[in-house]
Symmetry: C2
Subunit: 323 residues, 2 copies
Amino acid sequence: MSFCMTPTPDRLQDRYPSRISDRPALLPRLDPVLYRSSESGQVASGQGSAGPLIAAQQKRYEREGFLLLPDFFSAEEIAACTQELDRLCQSEEVKRRQEAIVEPAGDDLRSLFAVHRISPFFKAVAADERLVQIAEQLLESPVYIHQSRINLKPGFTGKEFYWHSDFETWHVEDGMPHMRAVSFSLLLTPNFEYNGPLMLVPGSHTRFAACVGQTPENHYQVSLRRQEYGVPAPELLTQLVAEGGIETCTGAAGTLVVFDCNTMHGSASNISPLPRSNLFLVYNSLENRLQAPYCGLPPRPEYIATREQCEVVVPQTVEYSSP
Amino acid sequence: MSFCMTPTPDRLQDRYPSRISDRPALLPRLDPVLYRSSESGQVASGQGSAGPLIAAQQKRYEREGFLLLPDFFSAEEIAACTQELDRLCQSEEVKRRQEAIVEPAGDDLRSLFAVHRISPFFKAVAADERLVQIAEQLLESPVYIHQSRINLKPGFTGKEFYWHSDFETWHVEDGMPHMRAVSFSLLLTPNFEYNGPLMLVPGSHTRFAACVGQTPENHYQVSLRRQEYGVPAPELLTQLVAEGGIETCTGAAGTLVVFDCNTMHGSASNISPLPRSNLFLVYNSLENRLQAPYCGLPPRPEYIATREQCEVVVPQTVEYSSP
């Protein structure tokens, strides 16, 4: 498939219009959260889809839009991940890649996209059956990696990341049609309340926060450093937080955060000496492949949003012995 | 007393040299933390100075450098404080005062200095016997207000405040000779882990983190918006946090945080919708009045550092019925 052949979607078919109106709005979610029960939108008590998550966890995910799973990876597994992370961070070749986002002041790595393509080790992690089976269970579908990255928030100077729904960007700028993707954040360092942990707004995934403004061309080249478009209006955030509060995802290294593609999230700055790193993996349903971007602009690069290389992820047992 | 008559202190008499060397250093604290027992530096078990704090609280303050006192002010008292705060924030006359620090983007009030002089209401709060008696007890001395201010960290855009010891600045820029002052932060809004609460490094008050760099003239005009001098080096912060950790001062409105003038503290940004406000009162011992600044520059204005108007604060019973 080439994106030249993908027609620009008709505005009338855009079920989640954003960056079009000059007034922000909370629109209804038109897709299920749990795909097993897409007709009723509910998981019956005591019954869930087959897979690693028990029914209570599925119901919680459906209600809150996320799950926090402590001790998901063992200390030894995290040590292996950290060793590979260190190798990538120290590689000048890696830092010069287009997939690498480097700190504005200095040349420290802040993010590395497509880490499942760059690193055979993280490609294996992305196929770890413990992760993939959860994604398949929630989305009731084979999955592929829509986006992967390592996020490194350094100590002392780690910048805040303002509130956003990933789906809003993936829909507008990447042409993801439905809310049928799930994000995994695997904590590679301890996340304390004071080193800029992920913050989520419970229940926010049940509405779509339509943003104002138009998307400029090549927005992705600056948006990863500084956000201007796809920013939810203060009044929408106030309403969502008034209804759901804010959950701070603190936990030891090895904790896994699973959250819906439309859950509102962000993180504060990190002035503590303790860096905060995580592995971010987005699984999208094979039935939810990207169309042309709804903003009408050319699509973002393949390393930010997988469009052509949608290989099904086959769950596998991974050995985490350090290299 | 006029500062023209105050001699510039001899560098040899500067017991806490900072912004002089080009290498950062952790120097020993040469002053007691609790002034009752200045010879031994210890409060004997079960015995403390006379005053509101029991011996266990005094020992904790001596060891950690701070105390967190929940429910110190009642909801009704906080409501009265908030009403006065709102009045000040809405006053165009107040926002135009030199004591007012206004957000760089917009004209919202970020800080208001000398609030105990500007507002008769907050003058009374600063004399509240419940506060003053704690200050007198810790410093074993009559006290005056060295600095007072209201801090307002707005929702969505509240900026971080990097790590610092207040004493470092008060010593270098204001000529405070000894560590014999105590700061009170009265929470006027709930402080959650996600709206940029005060963070303290327990035990950091027992060393003096000497900073590098020289102080430029009129530094105070920019330092309140952006810090460049008097910033502790990363390696010192790493050591202090490795030893003491980080304590996040969350609590309901009405919580009082009492902390030593040399306790390292800071706060992260606030992207949550919930603003964070506090009343900041610094009591200094009358025996610790300001000398000429150790940096050799002219002193900062009276509204930032009381030099001439050192009236003893007489403890009084305050009625908090709203106006």
